[in-house]
Amino acid sequence: MNLIYNLKKHLVFCFFAIPVLILFSCAKDESEGDSVFRYASTQTTSYSVSEEGDIMIFRFGSTASWTAKSDADWITFPTSGDGGTIYFKMQVKESLSDEDRVGIVTINSGNDYIVLDISQKKILDKNNIKIIAVGQIVKTTDGVKSNISALWENDDYLRAVVSGSTASMQDIKYLNGDYYIAGYVQSNSGITDYFWKNANTQTQISSSTSYCNVSRLYCNGNDLYAVG
């Protein structure tokens, strides 16, 4: 939990997102400088938003009135406000662009500023999407049945994620252009949990003696979480 504690200690702003996107920011310590902004930041922080858009609520404190502006018309937000604790609501529209795009929101008060750097993936072609699915199929080899991990693209079976083992893929998520699969492999020594990046690179996340089954993945900003 040291990592979590340190995150709490140094997090400057609390971000809330609807439905699930939570953003993090890095910034100077509260004791640094005489900024108008409580926990003022002069750093630019980058965030990723899905092509479907999102609503984010960015909380900060200010001892004076402030203004906000952006070069991106696909991000809506309040353009000014008074001091106090501010719940700064940004709505990122669904992408209509065939290119990935980046927008910058700057919040100013006097010489102090906060910069939010928001990137969004290009539009999904709604008539040309594919579904990547994972699960398992049963195969009988030499009279013995076993679960084989399965990876499908639309209705095509592509391959097993793990070949030659009894395995089950439990969840799949997209994060920053890559997809991550969580699941487990069963062997004589027990069950071992893994991540697979793009159904290839395998990383073990538990030992076969930990009696832990990973069940679900969760993306938060640029971080990938799993629970089990």
Binding site: I132, A150, D171, D223, V227
Partner: protein, 215 residues
């Protein structure tokens, strides 16, 4: 719980293990849905905030299967065991911040919602409705049945779902008398893809999770 391949949170409750089935985050707080064991060995449905019990959702045996957030509230779904028409069965619920929002067994059918998602102001839940030993995959929207996927083999189950472009996609399996469990993806109320070879001697397959991307 793992973050970027590293285990970052592990905890027990009541000197016994906690069953963790799903999670969501608000700010830097983790909300973990699952169950803990009471003194009689029953699993009780619960939400944990970080490593502390936040909501015990029932005194009766059950569990939380899935968790979602709109950024301010925690929504969860699962079941507790209840007497329905004099019979002990699973009573499905959607909870909002620890209180019952929707009772999915209000018509006397046993239900077990296993997945939840938020789409704007709408809450979709997917799970099972059991009637006369038939277990039918069901999607509820804001507490009301939206789609039911019956099968000739008497069992169907949704393991994953997402909404896109006004449609709802669900993945799981249905029971076929000849082929056993057949992996399937439904779009709204119809089968979109059947992923198993119905003539195979190997019986049993399922979709557990899915995502979409551009071709």
């Amino acid at each position: 719980m793992w973050k970027n391949y590293d285990a970052v949170l592990s905890f027990t409750y009541n000197n016994d293990k906690v069953l963790a089935y799903d999670m969501a985050m608000i700010g830097d707080d983790y909300y973990i849905g699952g169950a803990f064991y009471d003194n009689y060995g029953n699993t009780l449905p619960a939400i944990f905030k970080n490593n502390n019990l936040l909501h015990k959702l029932s005194d009766k045996a059950g569990q939380v299967n899935a968790v979602a957030t709109n950024g301010t509230s925690i929504y969860s779904c699962g079941y507790f065991t209840d007497e329905i028409n004099g019979v002990s069965m699973a009573s499905g619920c959607v909870w909002k911040d620890g209180s019952v929002l929707y009772n999915l067994s209000k018509d006397g059918k046993a239900t077990n919602p296993e997945r939840i998602l938020m789409d704007g102001n709408d809450i979709y839940v997917a799970g099972i409705t059991t009637v006369d030993s038939q277990m039918n995959a069901t999607i509820w929207k804001n507490g009301e049945v939206l789609h039911t996927y019956a099968s000739e083999g008497g069992i169907s189950r949704i393991m994953t779902m997402f909404t896109y472009n006004g449609d709802i996609y669900a993945g799981g399996f249905y029971r076929n008398k000849a082929a056993g469990n057949v992996a399937v993806i439904w779009k709204n109320d119809k089968v979109l893809y059947t992923l198993s070879d119905l003539d195979s001697k190997d019986k049993g397959s399922s979709v557990n999770a899915m995502v979409i991307k551009n071709n």
